[in-house]
């Protein structure tokens, strides 16, 4: 009970305190024979210096974060296209950091340098066409570079050579992932949402014989340096398959099949050696999909061809699972 009274009284006390502070500051300015709430030269001096200091502190805070939290960022990409993306990222990041580290302190310095003084007149400077053309053209040139570089990387990432790729389907629903390997024929059997029933949770068309060698699994195994084409489907709402270490992300949209092809370059055990024993490649959901959205992931394992073959041989295909039921 007493607690509740305190909760009620606290805001009242705070308001009363603020009223008193306000009155005192206004009285003080009357004593100093100043018009209350008018910005004085002293205010300009103090605020100008303070703004400069705070902006410089912000810059230091940014650098501090880069040093302390930098190691938490994702390690270098584990895929062929990812390495190219990382190159573009480093280039763009350095570019914007340079601009940031020039413009922000410049802003702070101007505030300090040109803080208001009495009997000073500002410089009447309304326009300068030459200057304005220069600083329109320079960003335009720099951005042209960024755009051209960016589009080339985008083109490479979106159109990799997938002629010898193995095809794996990644299937999403609230709240979990399933994967389907295309088997010996490297062709995924047809599927239709109307066939989803009982154990046939992916709606696979069992009358389509290309589906018989398909293999359904709950974690994805990939071979190092071998291209893989992921095909995404969704059963209910939009999900997004995000595998940060590979620089792979694609939405899974009900009614549409989307895809993303890439080539992994580092095995899980290589990454464990580099990042620590707990490391796993994870595919996580990155499109809000309901209450357990934050909990929807699937493990990816990259290994050598031998390890992969061994694992695959232990998996049962549809002929031996769904068809025998």
């Amino acid at each position: 009970m007493i607690e509740k009274i305190i909760y009620v009284l606290m805001p009242i006390a705070v308001v009363a305190l603020l009223v008193q502070i306000t009155r005192i500051t206004e009285l003080l300015s009357k004593i100093n024979k100043e018009e209350p709430n008018k910005v004085t030269t002293r205010d300009n001096d103090f605020q100008g210096k303070l703004y400069f200091i705070v902006i410089m502190a912000f810059i230091i805070f940014v650098v501090w974060q880069m040093i302390v939290w930098g190691p938490l960022l994702l390690p270098a990409a584990s895929s062929v296209h990812g390495e190219i993306i990382d190159g573009l990222m480093n280039f763009t990041m350095n570019l914007i950091l340079i601009v940031f580290f020039v413009l922000t302190p410049m802003l702070g310095y101007f505030l300090y340098k040109y803080r208001g003084k009495e009997k000073k007149f500002a410089y009447y400077y309304s326009h300068n066409n030459k200057l304005e053309i220069i600083w329109t053209v320079i960003p335009a040139i720099v951005l042209t570079g960024v755009i051209v570089y960016g589009l080339r990387v985008w083109d490479q990432a979106m159109n990799p050579d997938m002629t010898n790729a193995s095809v794996v389907e990644v299937y999403s629903k609230q709240f979990g992932w399933t994967a389907r390997y295309s088997g010996g024929d490297n062709t995924l059997g047809n599927a239709n949402y109307r066939l989803i029933q009982g154990p046939n949770q992916l709606g696979i068309d069992l009358s389509d014989s290309t589906s018989h060698d398909d293999i359904i699994v709950r974690e994805v195994h990939l071979v190092k340096d071998k291209p893989v084409l992921l095909k995404f489907r969704s059963q209910d709402v939009i999900h997004s398959a995000f595998i940060p270490h590979f620089r792979v992300q694609m939405n899974c949209v009900p009614g549409i099949t989307t895809q993303f092809g890439f080539t992994p370059t580092k095995t899980t055990s290589e990454m464990k050696a580099q990042e620590g024993e707990d490391f796993e490649y994870m595919l996580v959901c990155n499109k809000i999909c309901g209450g357990a959205h934050y909990n929807m992931g699937m493990k990816f394992i990259v290994e050598t061809q031998e390890e992969y073959d061994m694992w695959l041989s232990q998996q049962k295909n549809i002929k031996n699972t769904l068809l025998t039921l």
């Binding site: 500051t25 960022l73 940060p244 949209v253 809000i288 209450g291």
Partner: protein
């Protein structure tokens, strides 16, 4: 004229047709919604800093939404959704444009009121109705809408997908429909007023930049909000009448639904056709206010007036052809993605021009640090910081790995959230004397600014690191996957600053209401500014000017003009013999 009839309480304070009163109605409704949105963010920030920790007070406050004092995951999503909806539409569209378009347009162009006072009144009351419906949706059994403020179907279309997609979603859609009607009525009025009711001598080339910004904003709104309206109506059809505009091939809860042939991607296209211009509907008024406040308080003309207008127009135009950058990863044709990357990165050019012009305006100024000026400079700072990360997000190749991560959350909260909120604060502090005839307290204003500025960067800058570590947004906790375990510290820092920053906003609320009643009396032109609103009497009469409307003889930015005896020249002052305009 309107000022001849006798006013009752009802016509003066409730169903007022005076643009100044309507502006205050928008402002106070917006402030109320801002507090609500902020309270929601405080709740989910507490959850993110200490996932799963029990706070018994939460159960007292929220009942079944925080069983045992721990936020329910579905309610977490509801909070995120409503926070976004409230801040984007209610605070930074209704609250910002509604307040300053209404307040400034007639006053700064020299008109007695809006073109249609009645439609203007309707605009507010539709907004008010929308507010009531949205708040109502917080109290329904299944909870408010929870599918994110972007309400992508099928999640938002199917009550089976999440509790918030039940009645809460219906009410959300009704609220948005009402909101859009209000916005359109307001927007048409703003455009007509600016085009037709400018006083003698107020050519378009002499309009203050606030009015230019509000003009472009109104055009963007009128062209894009109808698309949101139809987008929402089709969603209502899918939800209620069984059509399949957005839905196809869905099995949910073990049941195959009848929907066939629709596409959720169609929804995204329609939504973002509004959604991207909406970003600039939020941002441009703030940039307009910033231009005005920086010029007045640097005691210098705004640098490159024509370039400022041209960049507003360029940003406005480009904002209509970039919406696809929200959809790079929907499986759209990579070539289309290239086009959107190209148009998106072009926006950096007019934005850079704006930043350089702001900086040059400050250069060699005689800067007077009013609270409004502190906030306006804050806008420049956040516009730089947040605008730059847009170059990463707009690049489709880079978007692959930062899309929908906290990097995006950090980016848009800084460039659009903070810039716009700072612009709004700058506007309130700057025009408060004209709104209420009194001054806001200076000391409290300074305290409010510094607390806000420092805490806001403390909240949003670290989010970039979360995003670059791969953490998706809208996650109830970061600890589900071992790869995000190291990020709890960053989340704790963010939450600390978020809660601290929230406290400082109450100083503003106090200052605002205290000053309405007890603030020191303002003079007619307390900031020694040039624009027309400062020639009106302190008493704020209906019709704005007693007697004749003012005549305009010069642009709005003759500060510290050589040859003048003081450092400002009102727009109503005729040019002297041999004086060049600028």
């Amino acid at each position: 004229m309107a000022d001849h009839h006798k006013e009752t309480f009802l016509t003066k304070y409730v169903f007022s047709q005076d643009h100044k009163m309507i502006a205050k109605q928008f402002l106070i409704t917006g402030m109320f919604m801002a507090l609500l949105g902020m309270a929601m963010s405080a709740l989910f920030r507490v959850q993110l800093a200490n996932p799963g920790k029990a706070y018994p007070i939460l159960e007292t406050l929220l009942g079944k939404w925080a069983p045992g004092g721990v936020l329910d995951p579905n309610f977490y999503l509801a909070l995120v959704t409503m926070h976004g909806t409230i801040l984007v539409f209610w605070v930074l569209t209704g609250g910002l444009s509604g307040t300053f378009a209404n307040f400034l347009i007639p006053l700064q162009i020299g008109a007695r009121d809006m073109a249609s006072g009645f439609i203007n009144m309707l605009s507010y009351w539709f907004f008010n109705l929308a507010t009531i419906v949205l708040i109502w949706s917080l109290f329904v059994e299944t909870g408010p809408a929870s599918g994110g403020w972007t309400i992508y179907p099928p999640l938002s279309a199917l009550p089976q997908a999440m509790p918030g997609s039940g009645l809460g979603m219906d009410l959300w859609l009704i609220a948005i429909v009402l909101f859009v009607v209000g916005s359109l009525l307001g927007g048409l009025n703003y455009i007509v007023t600016i085009l037709n009711l400018r006083t003698v001598g107020m050519s378009m080339q002499r309009l203050p930049l606030t009015i230019w910004a509000l003009f472009v904003t109104a055009i963007l709104g009128v062209l894009s909000f109808p698309v949101l309206l139809s987008c929402g109506l089709l969603l209502i059809f899918d939800r209620t009448f069984g059509t399949s505009f957005y839905l196809s091939d869905i099995v949910i809860g073990g049941e195959a639904l009848h929907y066939s042939g629709g596409s959720p991607i169609l929804f995204e296209h329609l939504f973002w056709f509004l959604g991207h211009p909406e970003v600039y509907i939020i941002l441009l008024p703030a940039l307009g206010i910033t231009s005005e406040v920086i010029s007045v308080n640097s005691r210098k003309p705004i640098f490159g007036y024509k370039a400022m207008v041209a960049s507003l127009l360029a940003i406005g135009f480009l904002s209509f052809i970039v919406w696809g950058h929200h959809m790079f990863l929907t499986g759209m044709d990579p070539f289309l993605g290239s086009v959107f990357t190209f148009t998106t990165l072009l926006i950096a050019i007019p934005s850079a021009v704006k930043v350089f012009n702001f900086l040059t305006t400050l250069w060699k100024g005689n800067i007077r640090f009013t609270t409004a000026m502190l906030f306006a400079i804050g806008t420049v700072s956040t516009f730089i910081t947040g605008g730059l990360t847009g170059i990463i997000l707009g690049d489709s190749a880079l978007d692959i790995n930062v899309h929908d991560t906290y990097f995006v959350v950090g980016h848009f909260h800084i460039v659009m959230g903070l810039s716009a909120i700072y612009g709004m604060y700058a506007g309130v502090y700057h025009w408060f004397p004209k709104m209420y005839g009194r001054m806001m307290n200076k000391g409290l204003g300074y305290l409010h600014f510094w607390g806000t500025f420092i805490c806001a960067y403390g909240v949003f800058f670290p989010m970039h690191f979360l995003g670059l570590a791969g953490l998706p947004r809208r996650y109830y906790q970061n600890s589900s996957f071992p790869m995000f375990d190291g990020l709890t510290d960053i989340n704790a820092v963010i939450t600390f600053f978020a809660l601290a920053g929230a406290v400082f906003q109450f100083i503003f609320i106090f200052n605002f209401f205290y000053s309405i009643f007890k603030g020191t009396k303002a003079s007619k032109n307390p900031w020694q500014a040039n624009t027309l609103e400062w020639t009106t009497p302190v008493e704020r009469i209906h019709g704005n000017w007693p007697g004749e409307l003012p005549t305009v003889h010069r642009w709005a930015y003759d500060y510290s003009k050589p040859g003048a005896d003081k450092d400002f020249i009102l727009q109503t002052e005729p040019l002297k013999e041999g004086e060049e305009e600028h």
